[in-house]
């Protein structure tokens, strides 16, 4: 960030506080205008993990779009689960968590360089949310033991243990779980590690009773010293890369992966104002570019924050009831008197949002995590800075206008670097969005040396 931009930011921030005092809707470091939620990505799974010591609650949600009766999942789990350890929840809670932690766009309006007044505006963008999971059922043979069977919500669930992968694969195939080629080896690895298998299909009758068009997220609660997320079965079918968003709710601080590099998503940059209308494209392009830059082997940190607050807020922090639903057992239920204002209440919950684009070639092993004591807040945040449009005829105003092309060019360069987009396309779009300027002529190194004629 340039020094003048920083100065403007500080001024804008100071005036934002003034605006709050005057009743305006403002946040300390800019106005939240748009977010990039997980809906942008195809084949995106969302997993919420509560972890405290060995206690774990995993909430699984994915965007299954096919026939409900076709739905089936196989999840390796460390222990045989009792019925009470399985639960179905409302996908709206995950959507809330998704929006709360989403990378965000904020905008500032430059003040009149000749005056100290500031104009602010707030825009909003819609949010969406859907999720799915499910399955069918079968019988037992081939060294496979059905340890338990339950119907929970719209799901028929079985917990399996197996002696060898061939038998398990055959059992699953007979029971309508379509296994991709190559899944057997991975199943074998899990069996030898003493893993059980949680398999689920949709119970169509129960599903009809819910009156919902989608499948609700499945939850499991267990104790295990292994803090990990099994992703290997999902990589077997090798149908391109898959996206997973991991939301961790912990007590001491953020989580990170121990067997892959965890990298912070670039954040805090000034980018051209036209990105407001294509923030989703921007986020996707930037994410893809960063994945490439890390040789496709990194896990990205998109958000790490104390659950008590946010700034700027893409959504309110989750309520105690929502957090409890996701497994945060140490928060007190609020019951009838739910408080919309969460700020004064302190809760010992830290949220981490990780985003991974993975395939078997680059992520051969499951994601192994550890919880750290890191409590530094981090968010994916991108800044739009609207130039002052008025006359501004004073000396400072002339300086300000003289400086604008340089600033616009730097925004264009930042955007090109972040996303890999073509710089000329960016300049053209800036021009049609009113950020028109003459790009500086390309300076040759010798011109910098002896000056241009």
């Amino acid at each position: 960030m340039t020094r003048s931009a920083l100065k403007k930011l500080l001024v804008a921030a100071a005036s934002a506080i003034a605006a709050t005092a005057a009743g305006g809707a403002a946040a300390f470091c800019g106005f939240y205008v748009a977010k990039a939620d997980t809906k942008l990505f195809n084949k995106a799974s969302k997993v919420v993990m509560m972890r405290d010591g060995d206690r774990t609650v995993i909430t699984m949600s994915n965007d299954y779009q096919g026939e409900l009766k076709e739905f089936a999942i196989v999840v390796p789990v460390p222990v045989v689960l009792e019925e009470g350890q399985i639960h179905v929840t409302d996908s709206a809670i995950i959507d809330h968590l998704d929006v709360y932690t989403a990378p965000r766009l904020v905008e500032y309006f430059d003040e009149d360089p000749c005056d100290r007044r500031v104009y602010e505006k707030m825009a909003a963008s819609p949010l969406a949310g859907e999720s799915a999971d499910g399955g069918r059922r079968g019988a037992d043979s081939l060294g496979v033991t059905v340890e338990a069977e339950y119907t929970v919500g719209e799901y028929d669930i079985q917990i399996l243990s197996a002696k060898e992968s061939g038998g398990l694969a055959a059992w699953l195939t007979q029971n309508g779980y379509r296994l991709p080629d190559g899944a057997e080896e991975t199943l074998g690895s899990y069996i030898r590690q003493g893993t059980k298998f949680f398999v689920a299909k949709v119970n169509l009758k129960e599903q009809a009773n819910t009156g919902l068009k989608y499948l609700r997220p499945l939850q499991i609660a267990f104790e295990s010293p292994r803090f990990m997320l099994p992703i290997r079965l999902g990589t077997v079918n090798a149908d391109g890369k898959q996206e997973i968003f991991i939301f961790a709710l912990t007590r001491s601080g953020r989580i990170e992966t121990t067997n892959y590099r965890t990298v912070k998503l670039p954040s805090g940059m000034d980018i051209p104002v036209y990105v407001k209308d294509e923030f989703g494209d921007f986020y996707k392009a930037m994410f893809a570019e960063q994945v490439d830059r890390e040789a496709e082997r990194a896990v990205f940190l998109e958000y790490a924050w104390d659950m008590n607050w946010c700034d700027p807020c893409a959504a309110d922090p989750l309520s105690n009831d929502e957090l409890r639903e996701l497994g945060v057992y140490w928060t007190e239920p609020v019951g009838g008197r739910e408080r919309p204002e969460i700020m004064p209440e302190t809760r010992d919950v830290f949220v981490t949002r990780l985003h991974v684009s993975y395939d078997a070639a680059h992520f051969p092993e499951d994601l192994m995590f550890k919880e750290t004591g890191e409590r530094e807040n981090f968010q994916g945040r991108y800044v739009l800075r609207h130039p002052f449009k008025g006359a501004a005829t004073c000396e400072a105003g002339r300086d300000y206008r003289r400086d604008l092309p340089r600033r616009f060019e730097s925004e264009a360069q930042t955007l090109a670097t972040l996303t890999g987009w073509d710089i000329d396309d960016i300049r053209a779009k800036m021009k049609s969005a009113g950020q028109s300027y003459t790009p500086p002529p390309r300076e040759r190194w010798w011109e910098r040396l002896w000056g241009r004629e």
């Binding site: 690895s189 030898r192 010293p225 001491s252 121990t258 082997r297 051969p364 092993e365 750290t372």
Partner: protein, 281 residues
Amino acid sequence: METIFRGPLRDARWFQIAGQSIILSIGLLFYGFGVSPAQIAAALIAALAAQWIGARLIASRFDWKSALISGLSLALLLRANDWPPFALAAALAIGSKFAIRADGRHIFNPANFAIVAMLLAGGAWTSTSEWGSAPWFALTIAALGLVSTWRASRLDAPIVYLGVYGALLLGRALYLGDPLAIPALRLSHGALILFAFFMISDPKTTPDDLKERALFVGAAALVAYVLQFHFHISDGIFYAPFLLALLRLAIGAPQRGRPYEWGRAPLNPFASPRRAAAPAE
């Protein structure tokens, strides 16, 4: 070349300091290492200060190079929310060197002792997720480590350590039927390579005898593996040498000959005890 190494660069710690500084610079410039200048300064200053105080107390020479190495190790491997944990860790590291001794030598690798103490106390965590498994980075660390362990006549230590650990990973993958990409990923992890070349190979806290040393280092790899894969303790590599040093202390494992002395090691990369003179810290 031999003459250079017999001259001012005879002390292998010069190479260790250079290697660690280069790795830390790469980490800060290209890998976004989560350690601030204040934290690095706290680790280095506290280590040097503790060393100075310790040297005064036992009336010995102020040996700044070892203290600097301990401080750099902490900057590379430890992470915390603020700088005081780094100062505390550095003081613990150097303090352990003066306070916990047997047969005229310290028992614990100072930085390793501090990392374990901080992990147990809960005030800090390790940087394992910052390193990644990029081959070029792993090779750079190994190349820098080769020079310093060779100069310290301890080249055997990282070789045995990585050999045993790698064999265990490979055996696990074969047993589970896992793709070999998994052990390859684990074995090229930057923090593991750094640990093998710059921590477990510390001449002062490993046995002087080549065979005993191979046993000690091999056992450290085995214990690390067991802690990681059977007890699911992700920082197993750091706990392992700590536990083994405790064991050595408990059974009073004999140390024959004189303590290792920096700058007096023979130019043999895999040295056994030598007949050197003069005491040293």
